[in-house]
């Protein structure tokens, strides 16, 4: 037999009357902080401060580890050792693939001096994910887990709801968005907490295009720290702009936020370290081999002249429409596997500041990496085709827009 909701509640009230007693409840510090961080007058400045601290700790820790520690190990010890001891040596194709493709100097080819430039599977292929990305995502996941376990996320959701609601999502969309800043894959999966197909479709598409993952941000922080602020800003503006447009043209409902806001909690060190380790291990297991594979594939494609061919064929689009050098073809292929790898490659290409910004934006928005692609396919099924269509449109309009801005500024 089934009860109606009212009958059920009647029964529960009766049960509660006979078994449940609320004693004196004193407002605790936790409740006070809870109120403080959710009321707009205090909560909004607090949220900005939190995000600022998050970003500062992230960038300074990553830089400290990479520049102060990893680079020294990789460039002063690992690379020279391999250059000395790896069978074959310069000129050998296997050596070039695995250790050092060499740097062109006039007509000669000389040995590379850093693991950024050498572009071998065992040098750049290990240095990028372990020397640069690993410290970045470890600190990211530490802080993310901390925010998660304290219980800050739902309050951030409430504060940001006003804005997200204007583009047909709602505050809780901050969860997939922030998870995506670590890795797009769990971010796309977390779109399940949104109510309608329309909201999930929008969210997934926006994540795949405009939210760079932690690995990519880590490399950006290393290669182009001076432009990262502008690039992130351009991406976030894109997130809201195209969210707004999609919300206007797509059919379907956009329900509002309706969520529990749990009380704050003292975080458990054990749970935080476990989550941080699990997420980092996931990167080591799935990220590192993909970067190494990516380096290998890119090298092979270069050797057979395939990238050169594509660069020439696509030159009018790259140079005419997007305003980036034709050599961007290589990184764009790498981006299909790993965005971090693609950014690192861009760093090695000769170009102006403005071309660099355009190229990084292009790499970010033009297509999800393979892991995200698979998750999107699994989560959205046929709607995925629509997502791809939206993506193509955005790449050409938003990528082209940046070129237009440069032209108007007279710098492109």
């Amino acid at each position: 037999m089934h009860l109606t909701p009212d009958e059920r509640w009647e029964l529960i009230e009766e049960i509660a009357r006979r078994t449940l007693r609320f004693g004196n409840y004193k407002h605790t510090l936790k409740d006070a902080i809870g109120d403080f961080t959710v009321k707009p007058a205090t909560g909004i400045p607090f949220a900005i401060a939190i995000l600022f601290v998050f970003w500062s700790v992230f960038t300074s820790f990553a830089a400290l580890m990479t520049d102060g520690f990893m680079i020294k190990i990789f460039d002063n010890h690992w690379l020279p050792w391999l250059q000395q001891n790896f069978p074959g040596g310069p000129g050998n194709w296997f050596y070039a693939l695995m250790v050092d493709v060499g740097q062109r100097q006039g007509s000669a080819i000389v040995a590379s001096e850093s693991c950024f430039d050498s572009f071998g599977v065992l040098t750049s292929g290990l240095f990028l994910p372990i020397g640069v990305v690993l410290p970045a995502i470890m600190i990211f996941y530490l802080m993310l887990s901390l925010l998660e376990d304290i219980g800050y996320m739902p309050r951030l959701a409430v504060l940001i709801d006003t804005f997200l609601h204007k583009i047909g999502l709602h505050g809780y969309a901050i969860i997939p968005t922030i998870l995506s800043l670590g890795c797009n894959v769990p971010g796309v999966e977390a779109t399940r907490i949104l109510e309608t197909k329309k909201q999930r479709f929008m969210m997934m598409t926006l994540l795949a295009m405009f939210i760079p993952c932690g690995a990519q941000i880590g490399i950006m922080q290393k290669v182009i720290p001076q432009y990262i602020g502008f690039i992130m800003l351009y991406l976030f503006v894109g997130y809201f702009l195209y969210g707004f447009i999609m919300n206007k043209i797509l059919p379907g409902k956009t329900p509002e936020i309706l969520m529990d806001v749990p009380a704050y909690q003292k975080p458990l060190v054990k749970n935080i370290s476990k989550k941080m380790w699990m997420r980092t291990a996931g990167f080591l297991r799935e990220g590192v081999p993909f970067v190494m594979l990516g380096v290998l594939i890119i090298n092979v494609l270069y050797i057979f002249g395939i990238i050169e061919f594509m660069a020439t064929a696509m030159a009018p689009v790259f140079e005419g429409w997007f305003g980036v050098p034709r050599e961007t073809a290589g990184p764009l292929i790498a981006a299909l596997l790993r965005k971090d790898l693609a950014i690192a490659q861009l760093g090695a290409i000769e170009m102006t500041k403005y071309q660099m910004i355009s190229a990084v934006v292009l790499v970010t928005i033009y297509f999800p990496c393979i892991a995200t692609f698979v998750m999107m396919l699994k989560e959205s099924g046929r709607a995925f085709l629509g997502s791809l269509l939206a993506l193509m449109i955005v790449v050409f309009t938003y990528g082209g827009l940046l070129h237009l801005i440069w032209k108007l500024m007279g710098v492109a």
Binding site: P40, G43, D161, H165
Partner: protein, 75 residues
């Protein structure tokens, strides 16, 4: 006096009267049932959501939901 939840003042208390739409079942599951005491915690600016307290739970509601929820308040 009967008003919608979004019109409540900070820390004001009221008794939930009801809602009549498809969210009713869901709200019942969250503990929002007729006759229940509700306390307003906060309201975000620019048509943002409200946060209310029901029993020992805090719930955030979009303004479009909150303005359909009716409460009975004093004065």
């Amino acid at each position: 006096m009967r008003i919608s939840i979004d019109r409540m003042k900070y820390n004001q208390e009221g008794v939930f009267v009801g809602i009549n739409n498809e969210l009713r079942l869901h709200l019942a599951g969250m503990g929002l049932r007729a006759g229940k005491k509700i306390k307003m915690i906060t309201r975000e600016p620019l048509k943002g959501p409200v946060v209310i307290q029901v029993d020992h739970a805090s719930i955030s509601l979009g303004i479009g939901i909150a303005d359909k929820l009716i409460v009975e308040v004093d004065e």
